[in-house]
Amino acid sequence: MSYDNELYQQVILDHNRNPKNFREIKNATHHCHGINPLCGDDMTVYMEVDSEQGVIRDISFVGTGCAISKASSSMMTAYLKGRSLEESRVIFDEFHKMVLGELDPEKQEHHLGKLKLFRGIRDYPSRTKCASLAWHTMIGALDKKTEEISTE
Protein backbone atom coordinates (compact mmCIF):
# COMPACT_ATOMS: atom_id res chain seq x y z
CA MET A 1 0.00 0.00 0.00
CA SER A 2 1.21 3.44 -0.81
CA TYR A 3 -0.46 5.06 2.17
CA ASP A 4 2.59 5.75 4.24
CA ASN A 5 0.94 8.26 6.55
CA GLU A 6 0.51 7.74 10.26
CA LEU A 7 -3.25 7.95 10.07
CA TYR A 8 -4.17 4.43 9.01
CA GLN A 9 -1.63 2.13 10.61
CA GLN A 10 -2.31 -1.58 10.75
CA VAL A 11 -3.19 -1.43 14.46
CA ILE A 12 -5.87 1.17 13.78
CA LEU A 13 -7.29 -0.84 10.90
CA ASP A 14 -7.36 -3.96 13.08
CA HIS A 15 -9.20 -2.23 15.91
CA ASN A 16 -11.63 -0.79 13.36
CA ARG A 17 -12.41 -4.27 12.04
CA ASN A 18 -12.60 -5.94 15.46
CA PRO A 19 -13.12 -3.32 18.14
CA LYS A 20 -12.55 -4.35 21.75
CA ASN A 21 -15.24 -3.80 24.38
CA PHE A 22 -17.81 -2.94 21.71
CA ARG A 23 -20.83 -3.72 23.86
CA GLU A 24 -23.20 -2.25 26.39
CA ILE A 25 -22.61 -2.73 30.14
CA LYS A 26 -25.85 -3.61 31.87
CA ASN A 27 -26.16 -1.78 35.20
CA ALA A 28 -23.30 0.56 34.34
CA THR A 29 -22.49 2.97 37.15
CA HIS A 30 -21.53 5.68 34.65
CA HIS A 31 -22.42 6.31 31.05
CA CYS A 32 -22.45 9.22 28.65
CA HIS A 33 -23.53 9.97 25.08
CA GLY A 34 -21.09 11.84 22.87
CA ILE A 35 -21.48 13.29 19.38
CA ASN A 36 -19.26 15.01 16.89
CA PRO A 37 -21.69 17.39 15.17
CA LEU A 38 -19.21 18.08 12.41
CA CYS A 39 -19.30 14.56 11.05
CA GLY A 40 -22.16 12.84 12.85
CA ASP A 41 -20.05 10.38 14.88
CA ASP A 42 -22.20 9.16 17.71
CA MET A 43 -21.23 6.97 20.64
CA THR A 44 -22.07 5.98 24.18
CA VAL A 45 -19.40 5.05 26.72
CA TYR A 46 -20.39 2.75 29.60
CA MET A 47 -18.38 2.31 32.79
CA GLU A 48 -18.53 0.20 35.88
CA VAL A 49 -16.64 2.13 38.51
CA ASP A 50 -15.69 0.85 41.95
CA SER A 51 -16.07 4.13 43.75
CA GLU A 52 -14.62 2.86 47.02
CA GLN A 53 -11.37 1.80 45.40
CA GLY A 54 -11.55 4.53 42.77
CA VAL A 55 -10.98 2.02 39.98
CA ILE A 56 -12.56 1.40 36.55
CA ARG A 57 -13.65 -2.24 36.73
CA ASP A 58 -15.13 -2.31 33.25
CA ILE A 59 -15.49 0.10 30.36
CA SER A 60 -17.14 -0.30 26.95
CA PHE A 61 -18.64 1.64 24.06
CA VAL A 62 -21.25 1.40 21.33
CA GLY A 63 -21.99 3.70 18.42
CA THR A 64 -21.10 4.66 14.89
CA GLY A 65 -18.05 6.42 13.61
CA CYS A 66 -15.02 6.35 11.38
CA ALA A 67 -12.04 4.04 11.76
CA ILE A 68 -10.13 6.63 13.76
CA SER A 69 -12.94 7.12 16.26
CA LYS A 70 -13.67 3.40 16.52
CA ALA A 71 -10.04 2.43 16.96
CA SER A 72 -9.52 5.22 19.47
CA SER A 73 -12.54 4.06 21.49
CA SER A 74 -11.45 0.45 21.32
CA MET A 75 -7.91 1.18 22.45
CA MET A 76 -9.09 3.59 25.14
CA THR A 77 -11.36 1.01 26.74
CA ALA A 78 -8.65 -1.66 26.62
CA TYR A 79 -6.12 0.73 28.12
CA LEU A 80 -8.26 2.15 30.93
CA LYS A 81 -9.84 -1.05 32.21
CA GLY A 82 -8.50 -1.70 35.71
CA ARG A 83 -6.88 1.72 36.05
CA SER A 84 -7.58 4.23 38.78
CA LEU A 85 -9.80 7.24 38.13
CA GLU A 86 -6.93 9.54 38.92
CA GLU A 87 -4.63 7.85 36.40
CA SER A 88 -7.38 7.84 33.79
CA ARG A 89 -7.83 11.60 34.02
CA VAL A 90 -4.10 12.15 33.65
CA ILE A 91 -4.04 9.89 30.57
CA PHE A 92 -7.03 11.75 29.10
CA ASP A 93 -5.21 15.02 29.55
CA GLU A 94 -2.05 13.68 27.91
CA PHE A 95 -3.93 12.07 25.04
CA HIS A 96 -5.84 15.27 24.38
CA LYS A 97 -2.64 17.30 24.35
CA MET A 98 -0.93 14.79 22.07
CA VAL A 99 -3.61 14.86 19.35
CA LEU A 100 -3.60 18.65 19.45
CA GLY A 101 0.16 18.62 18.99
CA GLU A 102 0.84 20.08 22.43
CA LEU A 103 2.58 16.98 23.77
CA ASP A 104 5.16 15.03 21.81
CA PRO A 105 5.34 11.49 23.21
CA GLU A 106 8.76 11.05 21.58
CA LYS A 107 10.22 13.94 23.56
CA GLN A 108 8.12 14.35 26.68
CA GLU A 109 7.27 12.09 29.57
CA HIS A 110 3.85 10.49 29.38
CA HIS A 111 1.70 7.56 30.45
CA LEU A 112 0.19 6.83 27.06
CA GLY A 113 1.87 3.52 26.27
CA LYS A 114 0.79 2.26 22.87
CA LEU A 115 -1.83 5.01 22.62
CA LYS A 116 1.01 7.15 21.37
CA LEU A 117 0.41 5.75 17.90
CA PHE A 118 -2.34 8.38 17.60
CA ARG A 119 0.40 11.00 17.56
CA GLY A 120 0.11 11.34 13.78
CA ILE A 121 -3.40 12.75 14.12
CA ARG A 122 -1.95 16.16 14.94
CA ASP A 123 -1.05 16.50 11.26
CA TYR A 124 -4.73 16.12 10.33
CA PRO A 125 -6.59 18.86 12.21
CA SER A 126 -9.93 17.84 10.69
CA ARG A 127 -9.57 14.40 12.29
CA THR A 128 -8.41 15.18 15.83
CA LYS A 129 -11.99 15.19 17.07
CA CYS A 130 -12.49 11.70 15.68
CA ALA A 131 -9.71 10.49 17.96
CA SER A 132 -10.78 12.46 21.02
CA LEU A 133 -14.56 11.88 21.00
CA ALA A 134 -14.37 8.68 23.08
CA TRP A 135 -12.09 10.35 25.59
CA HIS A 136 -14.32 13.38 26.06
CA THR A 137 -17.29 11.07 26.42
CA MET A 138 -15.46 8.95 29.01
CA ILE A 139 -14.70 12.07 31.08
CA GLY A 140 -18.34 13.12 30.64
CA ALA A 141 -19.40 9.78 32.09
CA LEU A 142 -17.03 10.16 35.06
CA ASP A 143 -18.32 13.66 35.68
CA LYS A 144 -21.87 12.30 35.52
CA LYS A 145 -22.75 14.66 32.71
CA THR A 146 -26.38 14.16 31.85
CA GLU A 147 -26.28 16.24 28.70
CA GLU A 148 -24.74 15.07 25.49
CA ILE A 149 -21.00 15.65 25.15
CA SER A 150 -20.05 17.45 21.97
CA THR A 151 -16.62 17.86 20.43
CA GLU A 152 -17.60 21.34 19.27
Partner: protein, 417 residues
Protein backbone atom coordinates in the same frame (compact mmCIF):
# COMPACT_ATOMS: atom_id res chain seq x y z
CA UNK B 1 -9.10 5.75 -22.79
CA UNK B 2 -12.64 4.73 -21.99
CA UNK B 3 -13.71 7.81 -23.92
CA UNK B 4 -13.23 5.96 -27.15
CA UNK B 5 -15.70 3.33 -25.95
CA UNK B 6 -18.34 5.79 -24.95
CA UNK B 7 -17.69 8.54 -27.42
CA UNK B 8 -18.60 10.89 -24.58
CA UNK B 9 -15.63 13.20 -24.86
CA UNK B 10 -15.95 13.65 -28.59
CA UNK B 11 -19.59 14.64 -28.19
CA UNK B 12 -18.79 17.56 -25.93
CA UNK B 13 -18.73 21.04 -27.37
CA UNK B 14 -16.16 21.99 -24.74
CA UNK B 15 -12.42 21.85 -25.15
CA UNK B 16 -11.74 20.59 -21.64
CA UNK B 17 -7.96 20.97 -21.73
CA UNK B 18 -8.40 24.59 -22.76
CA UNK B 19 -11.05 25.15 -20.08
CA UNK B 20 -8.73 23.68 -17.45
CA UNK B 21 -6.03 26.14 -18.36
CA UNK B 22 -8.40 28.90 -17.29
CA UNK B 23 -8.26 27.61 -13.69
CA UNK B 24 -4.79 28.03 -12.13
CA UNK B 25 -5.61 25.86 -9.11
CA UNK B 26 -6.13 22.78 -11.27
CA UNK B 27 -2.43 22.49 -12.08
CA UNK B 28 -1.55 22.04 -8.39
CA UNK B 29 -0.34 18.84 -6.82
CA UNK B 30 -1.54 17.55 -3.44
CA UNK B 31 0.60 15.02 -1.52
CA UNK B 32 2.67 14.78 -4.68
CA UNK B 33 -0.31 13.83 -6.88
CA UNK B 34 -2.16 16.02 -9.37
CA UNK B 35 -5.13 17.66 -7.68
CA UNK B 36 -8.43 16.00 -8.60
CA UNK B 37 -11.01 18.46 -7.35
CA UNK B 38 -14.41 16.82 -6.88
CA UNK B 39 -15.98 18.97 -4.18
CA UNK B 40 -17.68 21.44 -6.47
CA UNK B 41 -21.02 21.19 -4.70
CA UNK B 42 -19.28 22.67 -1.65
CA UNK B 43 -17.37 25.39 -3.46
CA UNK B 44 -15.87 25.97 -6.89
CA UNK B 45 -12.56 27.39 -8.01
CA UNK B 46 -12.08 30.63 -9.86
CA UNK B 47 -11.00 31.11 -13.43
CA UNK B 48 -8.08 33.43 -14.12
CA UNK B 49 -10.43 36.08 -15.54
CA UNK B 50 -12.25 36.38 -12.18
CA UNK B 51 -9.00 36.45 -10.21
CA UNK B 52 -7.61 39.09 -12.56
CA UNK B 53 -10.78 41.20 -12.66
CA UNK B 54 -10.97 41.31 -8.86
CA UNK B 55 -7.32 42.35 -8.67
CA UNK B 56 -7.76 44.98 -11.34
CA UNK B 57 -10.90 46.40 -9.75
CA UNK B 58 -9.26 46.65 -6.32
CA UNK B 59 -6.13 48.18 -7.83
CA UNK B 60 -7.72 50.69 -10.16
CA UNK B 61 -11.48 51.13 -9.79
CA UNK B 62 -12.48 50.43 -6.19
CA UNK B 63 -14.70 52.94 -4.43
CA UNK B 64 -17.73 53.07 -2.20
CA UNK B 65 -21.07 52.59 -3.94
CA UNK B 66 -24.25 54.68 -3.94
CA UNK B 67 -22.66 57.36 -1.77
CA UNK B 68 -19.89 59.49 -3.13
CA UNK B 69 -20.29 62.20 -5.72
CA UNK B 70 -16.75 61.81 -6.96
CA UNK B 71 -15.42 59.86 -9.91
CA UNK B 72 -14.17 56.75 -8.08
CA UNK B 73 -17.46 56.21 -6.29
CA UNK B 74 -19.60 56.92 -9.32
CA UNK B 75 -17.57 54.51 -11.41
CA UNK B 76 -17.73 51.79 -8.75
CA UNK B 77 -21.50 52.30 -8.44
CA UNK B 78 -21.89 51.94 -12.18
CA UNK B 79 -19.88 48.71 -12.24
CA UNK B 80 -21.72 47.39 -9.18
CA UNK B 81 -25.11 47.98 -10.83
CA UNK B 82 -23.80 46.53 -14.09
CA UNK B 83 -23.03 43.34 -12.18
CA UNK B 84 -26.58 43.34 -10.82
CA UNK B 85 -27.82 43.54 -14.40
CA UNK B 86 -25.62 40.57 -15.31
CA UNK B 87 -27.17 38.53 -12.50
CA UNK B 88 -30.66 39.57 -13.61
CA UNK B 89 -29.92 38.52 -17.20
CA UNK B 90 -28.32 35.31 -15.98
CA UNK B 91 -31.45 34.15 -14.12
CA UNK B 92 -33.93 35.74 -16.52
CA UNK B 93 -35.21 38.41 -14.13
CA UNK B 94 -37.22 41.10 -15.95
CA UNK B 95 -35.84 43.91 -13.77
CA UNK B 96 -32.40 44.16 -12.19
CA UNK B 97 -33.97 45.77 -9.13
CA UNK B 98 -35.50 42.39 -8.36
CA UNK B 99 -32.02 41.10 -7.52
CA UNK B 100 -30.90 41.66 -3.93
CA UNK B 101 -27.28 40.88 -3.08
CA UNK B 102 -26.60 38.86 0.07
CA UNK B 103 -23.54 37.04 1.40
CA UNK B 104 -24.83 33.81 -0.14
CA UNK B 105 -27.77 31.43 -0.19
CA UNK B 106 -27.90 31.02 3.59
CA UNK B 107 -28.35 34.73 4.13
CA UNK B 108 -30.72 34.92 1.15
CA UNK B 109 -33.10 32.35 2.66
CA UNK B 110 -32.81 33.97 6.07
CA UNK B 111 -33.71 37.31 4.48
CA UNK B 112 -36.89 35.86 2.98
CA UNK B 113 -37.76 33.95 6.17
CA UNK B 114 -37.29 37.10 8.19
CA UNK B 115 -38.71 39.83 5.97
CA UNK B 116 -41.42 37.92 4.14
CA UNK B 117 -42.05 35.18 6.68
CA UNK B 118 -42.33 37.37 9.76
CA UNK B 119 -44.80 39.62 8.01
CA UNK B 120 -47.01 37.13 6.20
CA UNK B 121 -46.83 33.86 8.15
CA UNK B 122 -49.11 33.62 11.16
CA UNK B 123 -50.18 31.12 13.80
CA UNK B 124 -51.78 28.07 12.23
CA UNK B 125 -50.22 28.70 8.81
CA UNK B 126 -48.10 26.07 7.12
CA UNK B 127 -44.73 26.07 5.37
CA UNK B 128 -43.68 23.17 3.16
CA UNK B 129 -40.08 22.04 2.65
CA UNK B 130 -38.73 18.69 1.46
CA UNK B 131 -36.90 15.85 3.17
CA UNK B 132 -33.76 16.50 1.13
CA UNK B 133 -33.01 20.13 1.95
CA UNK B 134 -29.74 21.72 3.02
CA UNK B 135 -29.87 22.92 6.64
CA UNK B 136 -29.95 26.48 5.26
CA UNK B 137 -33.38 25.71 3.85
CA UNK B 138 -34.63 23.97 6.98
CA UNK B 139 -33.50 25.87 10.05
CA UNK B 140 -34.74 29.38 9.08
CA UNK B 141 -38.22 27.91 8.54
CA UNK B 142 -38.13 25.89 11.77
CA UNK B 143 -37.23 29.04 13.70
CA UNK B 144 -39.97 31.02 11.94
CA UNK B 145 -42.58 28.32 12.61
CA UNK B 146 -41.62 28.10 16.25
CA UNK B 147 -41.82 31.84 16.66
CA UNK B 148 -45.15 32.20 14.89
CA UNK B 149 -46.87 28.99 15.95
CA UNK B 150 -46.89 27.89 12.31
CA UNK B 151 -46.42 24.32 11.15
CA UNK B 152 -43.53 22.97 9.09
CA UNK B 153 -44.52 20.18 6.73
CA UNK B 154 -42.20 17.97 4.75
CA UNK B 155 -42.46 16.43 1.26
CA UNK B 156 -41.18 12.84 1.56
CA UNK B 157 -38.83 11.22 -0.95
CA UNK B 158 -38.78 7.75 -2.45
CA UNK B 159 -35.83 5.36 -2.19
CA UNK B 160 -34.23 6.87 -5.28
CA UNK B 161 -34.22 10.30 -3.66
CA UNK B 162 -37.07 11.77 -5.71
CA UNK B 163 -39.79 13.90 -4.17
CA UNK B 164 -43.11 12.06 -3.97
CA UNK B 165 -45.28 14.56 -5.79
CA UNK B 166 -48.59 12.97 -4.80
CA UNK B 167 -47.64 13.54 -1.18
CA UNK B 168 -46.74 17.14 -1.97
CA UNK B 169 -50.19 17.68 -3.44
CA UNK B 170 -51.75 16.27 -0.29
CA UNK B 171 -49.75 18.65 1.90
CA UNK B 172 -50.95 21.73 0.03
CA UNK B 173 -54.01 23.43 1.46
CA UNK B 174 -55.45 26.86 2.19
CA UNK B 175 -53.14 27.24 5.19
CA UNK B 176 -49.97 26.82 3.08
CA UNK B 177 -48.21 30.20 2.97
CA UNK B 178 -44.85 29.18 1.59
CA UNK B 179 -43.15 26.32 -0.19
CA UNK B 180 -39.34 26.28 -0.01
CA UNK B 181 -37.46 23.56 -1.88
CA UNK B 182 -34.10 23.19 -3.53
CA UNK B 183 -33.74 22.98 -7.27
CA UNK B 184 -30.99 20.39 -6.90
CA UNK B 185 -30.28 18.43 -3.72
CA UNK B 186 -26.70 19.12 -2.60
CA UNK B 187 -26.45 15.74 -0.89
CA UNK B 188 -27.98 13.46 -3.55
CA UNK B 189 -27.95 15.44 -6.78
CA UNK B 190 -31.69 15.03 -7.39
CA UNK B 191 -33.05 17.65 -9.78
CA UNK B 192 -36.49 18.49 -8.43
CA UNK B 193 -39.45 19.23 -10.73
CA UNK B 194 -39.54 22.82 -9.54
CA UNK B 195 -41.79 24.17 -12.29
CA UNK B 196 -44.52 21.75 -11.27
CA UNK B 197 -43.86 22.43 -7.58
CA UNK B 198 -44.22 26.16 -8.19
CA UNK B 199 -47.40 25.83 -10.25
CA UNK B 200 -49.07 23.59 -7.67
CA UNK B 201 -47.93 25.83 -4.83
CA UNK B 202 -49.43 28.83 -6.60
CA UNK B 203 -52.67 26.94 -7.24
CA UNK B 204 -52.94 26.54 -3.47
CA UNK B 205 -52.27 30.23 -2.96
CA UNK B 206 -48.75 29.82 -1.59
CA UNK B 207 -45.54 31.64 -2.50
CA UNK B 208 -42.63 29.50 -3.61
CA UNK B 209 -38.92 29.91 -2.89
CA UNK B 210 -36.40 27.90 -4.88
CA UNK B 211 -32.98 27.31 -3.30
CA UNK B 212 -30.81 27.51 -6.40
CA UNK B 213 -27.41 27.13 -4.73
CA UNK B 214 -26.73 23.93 -6.69
CA UNK B 215 -28.57 24.73 -9.91
CA UNK B 216 -27.32 28.20 -10.83
CA UNK B 217 -23.81 26.96 -11.76
CA UNK B 218 -24.98 23.96 -13.75
CA UNK B 219 -28.13 24.68 -15.72
CA UNK B 220 -29.90 27.54 -17.44
CA UNK B 221 -32.24 29.34 -15.06
CA UNK B 222 -35.24 31.35 -16.15
CA UNK B 223 -37.12 32.68 -13.15
CA UNK B 224 -39.76 34.19 -15.42
CA UNK B 225 -40.50 30.84 -17.00
CA UNK B 226 -40.36 29.03 -13.64
CA UNK B 227 -42.59 31.75 -12.17
CA UNK B 228 -40.94 31.29 -8.76
CA UNK B 229 -41.44 34.02 -6.19
CA UNK B 230 -37.89 33.83 -4.85
CA UNK B 231 -34.76 32.19 -6.23
CA UNK B 232 -31.56 32.14 -4.16
CA UNK B 233 -27.95 31.51 -5.21
CA UNK B 234 -24.32 31.61 -4.01
CA UNK B 235 -21.44 33.14 -5.95
CA UNK B 236 -18.76 30.81 -4.61
CA UNK B 237 -20.54 27.80 -6.08
CA UNK B 238 -20.47 29.43 -9.52
CA UNK B 239 -16.78 30.28 -9.90
CA UNK B 240 -17.08 33.68 -8.22
CA UNK B 241 -15.56 34.86 -4.93
CA UNK B 242 -17.04 33.72 -1.62
CA UNK B 243 -19.08 36.13 0.47
CA UNK B 244 -21.44 37.10 -2.33
CA UNK B 245 -24.72 35.66 -3.50
CA UNK B 246 -28.24 36.85 -3.73
CA UNK B 247 -31.89 36.37 -4.22
CA UNK B 248 -34.28 37.13 -7.03
CA UNK B 249 -37.74 38.12 -5.84
CA UNK B 250 -40.81 39.42 -7.64
CA UNK B 251 -40.94 43.19 -7.30
CA UNK B 252 -44.41 43.32 -5.75
CA UNK B 253 -43.19 40.96 -3.02
CA UNK B 254 -40.04 42.99 -2.36
CA UNK B 255 -42.16 46.12 -2.13
CA UNK B 256 -44.47 44.48 0.40
CA UNK B 257 -41.58 43.47 2.66
CA UNK B 258 -39.86 45.31 5.47
CA UNK B 259 -36.09 45.36 5.94
CA UNK B 260 -34.07 42.45 7.35
CA UNK B 261 -30.86 44.19 8.38
CA UNK B 262 -31.17 47.90 9.11
CA UNK B 263 -28.69 50.75 9.06
CA UNK B 264 -26.99 52.82 6.42
CA UNK B 265 -27.89 52.81 2.75
CA UNK B 266 -31.30 51.17 3.14
CA UNK B 267 -33.13 54.34 4.13
CA UNK B 268 -34.99 57.10 2.41
CA UNK B 269 -34.86 59.47 5.32
CA UNK B 270 -33.89 59.21 8.97
CA UNK B 271 -34.85 61.56 11.75
CA UNK B 272 -34.38 60.73 15.41
CA UNK B 273 -38.10 59.99 15.56
CA UNK B 274 -38.73 57.99 12.41
CA UNK B 275 -37.11 56.29 9.43
CA UNK B 276 -38.55 55.65 6.00
CA UNK B 277 -37.03 52.92 3.89
CA UNK B 278 -35.45 52.97 0.48
CA UNK B 279 -37.02 51.11 -2.43
CA UNK B 280 -35.85 47.59 -3.26
CA UNK B 281 -33.16 46.41 -3.70
CA UNK B 282 -31.42 49.03 -1.51
CA UNK B 283 -33.94 48.43 1.30
CA UNK B 284 -32.41 44.97 1.72
CA UNK B 285 -28.75 45.89 1.32
CA UNK B 286 -27.87 47.78 4.50
CA UNK B 287 -24.27 48.76 5.02
CA UNK B 288 -21.41 48.78 2.54
CA UNK B 289 -21.84 45.67 0.41
CA UNK B 290 -19.03 43.31 -0.65
CA UNK B 291 -18.29 45.49 -3.69
CA UNK B 292 -15.26 43.65 -5.04
CA UNK B 293 -17.02 40.31 -4.71
CA UNK B 294 -19.99 41.62 -6.68
CA UNK B 295 -17.64 42.67 -9.48
CA UNK B 296 -16.05 39.20 -9.38
CA UNK B 297 -19.49 37.60 -9.56
CA UNK B 298 -20.27 39.63 -12.68
CA UNK B 299 -17.10 38.39 -14.35
CA UNK B 300 -17.82 34.78 -13.35
CA UNK B 301 -21.24 35.09 -14.96
CA UNK B 302 -19.64 36.46 -18.14
CA UNK B 303 -17.28 33.49 -18.11
CA UNK B 304 -19.87 30.73 -17.71
CA UNK B 305 -22.24 32.48 -20.12
CA UNK B 306 -19.50 32.46 -22.72
CA UNK B 307 -18.87 28.76 -22.20
CA UNK B 308 -22.61 28.24 -22.30
CA UNK B 309 -24.79 26.64 -19.65
CA UNK B 310 -26.22 24.22 -22.16
CA UNK B 311 -22.70 23.04 -22.99
CA UNK B 312 -21.86 22.87 -19.30
CA UNK B 313 -24.96 20.86 -18.46
CA UNK B 314 -24.47 18.45 -21.34
CA UNK B 315 -20.83 17.79 -20.51
CA UNK B 316 -21.50 17.41 -16.78
CA UNK B 317 -24.25 14.91 -17.57
CA UNK B 318 -21.76 12.81 -19.52
CA UNK B 319 -19.36 13.00 -16.55
CA UNK B 320 -22.19 11.86 -14.29
CA UNK B 321 -23.05 8.94 -16.57
CA UNK B 322 -19.42 7.91 -16.75
CA UNK B 323 -18.86 8.17 -12.98
CA UNK B 324 -22.11 6.38 -12.18
CA UNK B 325 -21.08 3.48 -14.38
CA UNK B 326 -17.51 3.33 -12.99
CA UNK B 327 -18.60 3.48 -9.37
CA UNK B 328 -21.49 1.13 -10.00
CA UNK B 329 -18.97 -1.56 -10.99
CA UNK B 330 -17.25 -1.46 -7.60
CA UNK B 331 -18.30 -4.25 -5.23
CA UNK B 332 -19.18 -2.99 -1.77
CA UNK B 333 -20.07 0.51 -2.99
CA UNK B 334 -23.62 1.76 -2.84
CA UNK B 335 -24.76 4.98 -4.50
CA UNK B 336 -27.24 6.95 -2.38
CA UNK B 337 -29.68 8.83 -4.59
CA UNK B 338 -30.56 7.40 -7.99
CA UNK B 339 -33.11 9.92 -9.22
CA UNK B 340 -33.93 9.81 -12.90
CA UNK B 341 -33.25 13.54 -13.10
CA UNK B 342 -29.89 14.07 -11.50
CA UNK B 343 -27.11 16.65 -11.53
CA UNK B 344 -23.40 15.80 -11.50
CA UNK B 345 -23.27 14.79 -7.84
CA UNK B 346 -22.67 11.23 -6.62
CA UNK B 347 -23.10 10.33 -2.97
CA UNK B 348 -21.98 6.87 -1.96
CA UNK B 349 -21.14 4.63 0.97
CA UNK B 350 -18.72 1.72 1.23
CA UNK B 351 -19.43 -1.43 3.21
CA UNK B 352 -15.97 -1.48 4.79
CA UNK B 353 -15.01 2.15 5.38
CA UNK B 354 -16.64 5.20 6.90
CA UNK B 355 -17.03 8.28 4.65
CA UNK B 356 -14.48 10.22 6.70
CA UNK B 357 -11.91 7.54 6.26
CA UNK B 358 -12.69 7.41 2.56
CA UNK B 359 -12.19 11.14 2.11
CA UNK B 360 -8.97 11.14 4.16
CA UNK B 361 -7.65 8.22 2.12
CA UNK B 362 -8.62 9.76 -1.23
CA UNK B 363 -6.90 12.95 -0.15
CA UNK B 364 -3.67 10.98 -0.02
CA UNK B 365 -4.13 10.43 -3.75
CA UNK B 366 -4.76 14.13 -4.33
CA UNK B 367 -8.51 13.61 -4.68
CA UNK B 368 -10.72 16.14 -2.90
CA UNK B 369 -14.17 14.78 -2.08
CA UNK B 370 -16.47 15.53 0.81
CA UNK B 371 -17.17 13.02 3.55
CA UNK B 372 -19.94 13.90 5.96
CA UNK B 373 -23.61 14.76 6.19
CA UNK B 374 -23.33 17.66 3.75
CA UNK B 375 -25.40 19.92 6.03
CA UNK B 376 -28.33 17.69 5.15
CA UNK B 377 -28.78 15.46 8.19
CA UNK B 378 -32.49 14.78 7.52
CA UNK B 379 -31.42 13.37 4.13
CA UNK B 380 -28.90 11.08 5.85
CA UNK B 381 -31.54 9.95 8.35
CA UNK B 382 -33.98 9.22 5.53
CA UNK B 383 -31.46 6.93 3.86
CA UNK B 384 -30.29 5.36 7.12
CA UNK B 385 -26.65 6.41 6.82
CA UNK B 386 -24.67 8.62 9.21
CA UNK B 387 -22.80 10.22 6.35
CA UNK B 388 -21.79 9.70 2.73
CA UNK B 389 -18.80 10.38 0.55
CA UNK B 390 -19.74 12.82 -2.17
CA UNK B 391 -18.01 13.43 -5.48
CA UNK B 392 -19.43 16.50 -7.17
CA UNK B 393 -18.27 17.39 -10.65
CA UNK B 394 -17.90 20.59 -12.60
CA UNK B 395 -17.22 21.27 -16.26
CA UNK B 396 -13.48 21.48 -15.60
CA UNK B 397 -13.34 17.85 -14.51
CA UNK B 398 -12.30 15.16 -16.94
CA UNK B 399 -12.89 11.46 -17.41
CA UNK B 400 -9.35 10.57 -16.35
CA UNK B 401 -10.03 12.13 -12.96
CA UNK B 402 -13.02 9.86 -12.49
CA UNK B 403 -10.82 6.88 -13.38
CA UNK B 404 -8.44 8.03 -10.64
CA UNK B 405 -11.37 8.31 -8.23
CA UNK B 406 -12.53 4.76 -8.94
CA UNK B 407 -9.01 3.39 -8.63
CA UNK B 408 -8.45 5.16 -5.32
CA UNK B 409 -11.77 3.88 -3.94
CA UNK B 410 -10.71 0.33 -4.83
CA UNK B 411 -7.49 0.86 -2.86
CA UNK B 412 -9.49 1.99 0.17
CA UNK B 413 -11.68 -1.10 -0.01
CA UNK B 414 -8.63 -3.34 -0.25
CA UNK B 415 -6.94 -1.71 2.74
CA UNK B 416 -10.02 -1.70 4.96
CA UNK B 417 -11.29 -5.19 4.09
Amino acid sequence: MPDSNTGLATKSALDIEKVRQDFPVLSQTVHGKPLVYLDNAATTHKPQCVIERVREFDAEQYGTVRRGSYKMSEQATLLYEEARQKVADFVGAPDRKEIVFTSGTTQAINLVAYSYGRKFVNAGDEIIISNIEHHANIVPWQVLCEEKGARLRVIPVNDDGELIMEEYEKLLNEKTRLVAVNHISNALGTINPVKEIIRKGHDAGAKVLIDGAQSSPHMKIDVKDLDCDFYTFSGHKMYAPSGIGGVYGKMDLWESMGPYVTGGDMILQVTLEKTTYAKPPARFEAGTPPITQVIGLGTAIDYITEIGLDNIFEYEMSLLDYATRLLGEIDGLRIIGNAREKASIISFVLDVAHPHDVSSMLDQDGIAVRGGHHCAQPTMIRFGVPATTRASMAFYNKYEELDALAESIRKVIKLFS
